[in-house]
Symmetry: C2
Subunit: 427 residues, 2 copies
C-alpha cells in the first residue's frame, strides 16, 4: 500500500488550508488528478496581496484585487471549496477542527495559512499602528488616512492640525516604501485643491526603518535610489533607529518623539499558528521549520508551505513572497503526484529566486533580477505590466489598467471612500 | 437691508447639510455666486443611490457609485466642505450643532439630509431584515447574501439548508423589485457551478408586497409586466399581505410562516430628524411639512428639500426620488439668487415628473414617461444608458459600463466579496 491509497476504499482525501498563492498553486497543479480535494479558507476570496497597499491608499477598489476562491475553482471537478476557520489539527485522528463545524478528515494535508502582521511583543501598538494583510486592514488604513485630512481641515489648533498631517510608516521593506510613496502622491496630487483650511501638499510622510537601509533584499545601489526617489516625493526617511513606542498621538524612536495621528505598521509579520497546531518547532516569526521536502517533521502526510513555513534552499532561507509560495505549491503538487504513482522518495524543494521589485510612487520603481538592475520610470512600467499579467482574470486586468491609466492622467483616485466604523475611533 | 445682507459685514453664509442629490444640485447652481457656502455631510462621499442595489448584489464595486464630495466641489472657490455630523439647529442663534465640533453659524440654511429605511414601529426587525441606504448597508447585504450560500453548502440538515437558500425581500417598490431580480440572476447565472453540495439555481427568491401590486408608481400594465418578468426569473411574488413578524429564521405574513435565513427590507423609509431639529410639523414618515416655496414654516431662512421634506406640487405629493431632490435643489438656488438681487417674493416649487423606471434582472426593465410605456430589453438598455449618463465622472461611467458588459457577456460578478464583520452575526 502506498501512502496515497487508503484502507477505507474511498478516494484519497487531500485537504488544503488557505486559498492564497501557495494553496491555489497546489490545487491548480492537481487538476484532473484522481483525488478528493477540499480547499478551506476563512475568507471567501483569494487576495492579490502585492497590490493591497493600493487599496489602502485609495488607488484600487477592493474587488479589483480579490476573487472568490470558489469561483476560481469552479471548473475543477475534483475540488470542493469550504468557507471555514480551522481551529487545529489532530494528526492521530487525521482530522482538522473547524469553528462551528464538523471535523474534516484528511489523508494528506497542506497548510498554506500565511501570516499576519506582528508587533514583536508590542501588541498594544496595534490600535495605533494598523498593519496591512487583509482587505479589511486596507479599508481601515484608507479610512484612517482620508479621515486624518478631514480632521486636519476641521482642527482649529495649529499644533494638532500638524499632527493630523503627519503620516508615519514603520518599516522600510517593499510594503513600507510603497505605502509611503503612494501617500505622498495622494497628498500632492489627488487631494491638491480639495481643502480650504489646509494645504494637503504640506502633509509630511515619514518612513522609519530600524535597519541601516531601505529594501534590504535589494542591492545597496537600488536601496539608495529608492531613498532618493522617496525624498524627491517629499518623504522623510530615517534609518537605524527602531521604534520604541507607538501611541495615539505619535511614535518614539532614537530618543526622539514624533507627533503624528496616523501611524502605519509595515515592520514585520507573524506566521499563522500551523506550527502550534502540530506541535513542531517554529522560528522567531512563528513559522514552522519544515523538512527539505516541505513536510512537517514527524508528519510525512502534512506539508507546510508559504509564509507559514521556514525552509532553506541551498543555504539561504526562502523569502516570504508570492513567487516562493507558488513554487512551493507546485513542488507539493508534484510530490503528491509522485506518491500517487508509487514513488515515495523525498524530493527536496529548490527555490529559484526570480527577482525583487518595488514601486516608489506612481512614476518610479526598482527591479533586481539577479545581476540585472532596473530603476525609474521604465522599471515602473515593467512592474505595472508584470502585476497586471499576474492578476487573475481579464476583467480585473482591464479594471486595474483603467484605474492606473486614470490616476496617471488625472491624479484622481476613485476609491477615496471613508467607509465602515473604526472600533478604535469609537472607543 | 435685504435678507441676504448681514449686519456683521461678512459675506452671506449659506450652509447646506447633506451632499446627496438635493444638496449638491443647490451648490452646483450657486457656482460663482457671491456667497460663503459650506456643505456639511457625515460621510465623505456623495452616493449614487439608484445603483446601490447593485453593490448589495455583487454587481458593482463600492467606489463605482460613490465620489468624494470634497472632490466634486474642489473647483467651487466659494464652497467649503466639512465632514461632520449635525446634531441640531438653533434657529434663534442661527447656528448648527456639530458632534465633537464647534457650532457652525449660518445666515441661510438648506437641510437636505435624506432618509433612512424604517420599520414602522418594528425597529426590532432591523437585525434580521437590513435595509439599503448607505454603502455600509450594501456591503452588509452583500455579505449576508453570499454567506447564506456558503452556509447552505456546509449545512448537513436539509431543512436548514433550504432556509439558507430562501431569500425574502419585503417591499415591492423599485428597490425591492431590483434586488429580487438581481438575486435571482446571481443564483442562476453567477453562482451556477461554483458549489458542490448545493445547487444555487434552486435558491428561492420571494418578494412580499403588502399592497395590491408591484411598483405602485407605475401603470397597472407595467406592474403586471414586472411581476411576470420576475416570475420568469424564478421569483415568487406575494401581494396584499403585509409582513407581521421578522425573525432570524423567517417572516410571518397573511397567517403563514415562511422560513428563510436572509430577509431584506425595502418597504419604507423614515426621514432624517430635520423636522425635529426645527420643531415643525412632520408627516407619518417624519418628513417636515414645508411651505410651497420649500421654506420651513416660521423659518424663512431655512429650506428643507429632498427625502426629508413633504411638499405638494399642484395637488400631488412630490415623490422621494433623485430627480425631485435635484429640482428642489435648483429651485432653492434660484430663490437664493433672487433674494440676493433683492426679490423676496415667495416662489412656489413646481415639480415636473420626468418618469419612473426600474430594472428586473439584467435583461428587462419598465419605463413610464407620462403616457409612454416601455418594457423589456429595450427598456433595460434605456435604463442602463440613462444611469451611466447620470453617473458622475467619465471614469465611473467607463468602469460601470465595463462591469455591466462583463456580467452581460459572462455572468461573472467581480464584487463577490464577503468583507467586514456583521455585528449581528457575532452576537
Amino acid at each position: 500500500m502506498t501512502r496515497l491509497e487508503t484502507s477505507a476504499g474511498h478516494k484519497h482525501r487531500l485537504v488544503i488550508v488557505g486559498g492564497g498563492f501557495g494553496g491555489l498553486e497546489t490545487v491548480y497543479r492537481l487538476r484532473g488528478v484522481d483525488l478528493d480535494i477540499t480547499v478551506i479558507d476563512q475568507r471567501n476570496h483569494h487576495l492579490f496581496q502585492p497590490l493591497l497597499y493600493q487599496v489602502a491608499t485609495s488607488t484600487l477598489a477592493t474587488s479589483e484585487i480579490a476573487w472568490p476562491i470558489r469561483h476560481l475553482l469552479r471548473r475543477f471537478a475534483n475540488v470542493k471549496t469550504l468557507l471555514g476557520t480551522v481551529t487545529g489539527v489532530d494528526p492521530a485522528a487525521h482530522t482538522l477542527g473547524i469553528l462551528d463545524g464538523e471535523p474534516v478528515p484528511y489523508d494528506t494535508l497542506v497548510l498554506a495559512t500565511g501570516a499576519r502582521h506582528a508587533y514583536f511583543g508590542h501588541d498594544d501598538w496595534e490600535p495605533f499602528a494598523p498593519g496591512l494583510k487583509t482587505l479589511e486592514d486596507a479599508t481601515l488604513i484608507r479610512r484612517r488616512i482620508l479621515t486624518a485630512f478631514e480632521k486636519a481641515e476641521l482642527e482649529p489648533d495649529p499644533a494638532i492640525r500638524e499632527q493630523y498631517l503627519n503620516f508615519v510608516i514603520i518599516g522600510g521593506g517593499p510594503t513600507g516604501v510603497e505605502i509611503a510613496g503612494t501617500i505622498a502622491d495622494l497628498a500632492r496630487d489627488t487631494l491638491k485643491g480639495d481643502f480650504r483650511n489646509i494645504d494637503p501638499t504640506k502633509a509630511r510622510v515619514i518612513l522609519i526603518e530600524g535597519g541601516p537601509r531601505l529594501l534590504g533584499a535589494f542591492s545597496e545601489e537600488l536601496s539608495d535610489y529608492a531613498r532618493r526617489a522617496l525624498e524627491r516625493l517629499g518623504v522623510t526617511v530615517h534609518f537605524g533607529q527602531p521604534v520604541t513606542d507607538c501611541r495615539q498621538d505619535g511614535v518614539s524612536f532614537g530618543g526622539q518623539v514624533l507627533h503624528a495621528r496616523t501611524i502605519l505598521w509595515a515592520a514585520g509579520v507573524q506566521a499563522s499558528p500551523a506550527a502550534k497546531w502540530l506541535g513542531v518547532e517554529a522560528d522567531r516569526a512563528g513559522r514552522a521549520i519544515v523538512n527539505g521536502d516541505l513536510t512537517a517533521p514527524g508528519h510525512p502526510d502534512i506539508f507546510i508551505i508559504g509564509d507559514t513555513a521556514s525552509v532553506k534552499s541551498g543555504d539561504k532561507p526562502v523569502p516570504g513572497i508570492a513567487p516562493a509560495a507558488k513554487q512551493q505549491g507546485a513542488h507539493v503538487a508534484n510530490t503528491i503526484k509522485a506518491r500517487l504513482a508509487g514513488d515515495e522518495t523525498p524530493r527536496p524543494f529548490q527555490y529559484r529566486h526570480a527577482g525583487d521589485l518595488a514601486t516608489i510612487g506612481k512614476r518610479a520603481a526598482v527591479i533586481q533580477l539577479g545581476k540585472l538592475k532596473i530603476k525609474g520610470y521604465v522599471a515602473w512600467w515593467i512592474w505595472g505590466l508584470a502585476h497586471i499579467y499576474f492578476l487573475i482574470g481579464l476583467r480585473n486586468r482591464l479594471a486595474v489598467a483603467l484605474s492606473w491609466l486614470w490616476i496617471s492622467l488625472t491624479g484622481v483616485r476613485s476609491a477615496r471612500l471613508i467607509t465602515q466604523k473604526d472600533a478604535h475611533e469609537d472607543a
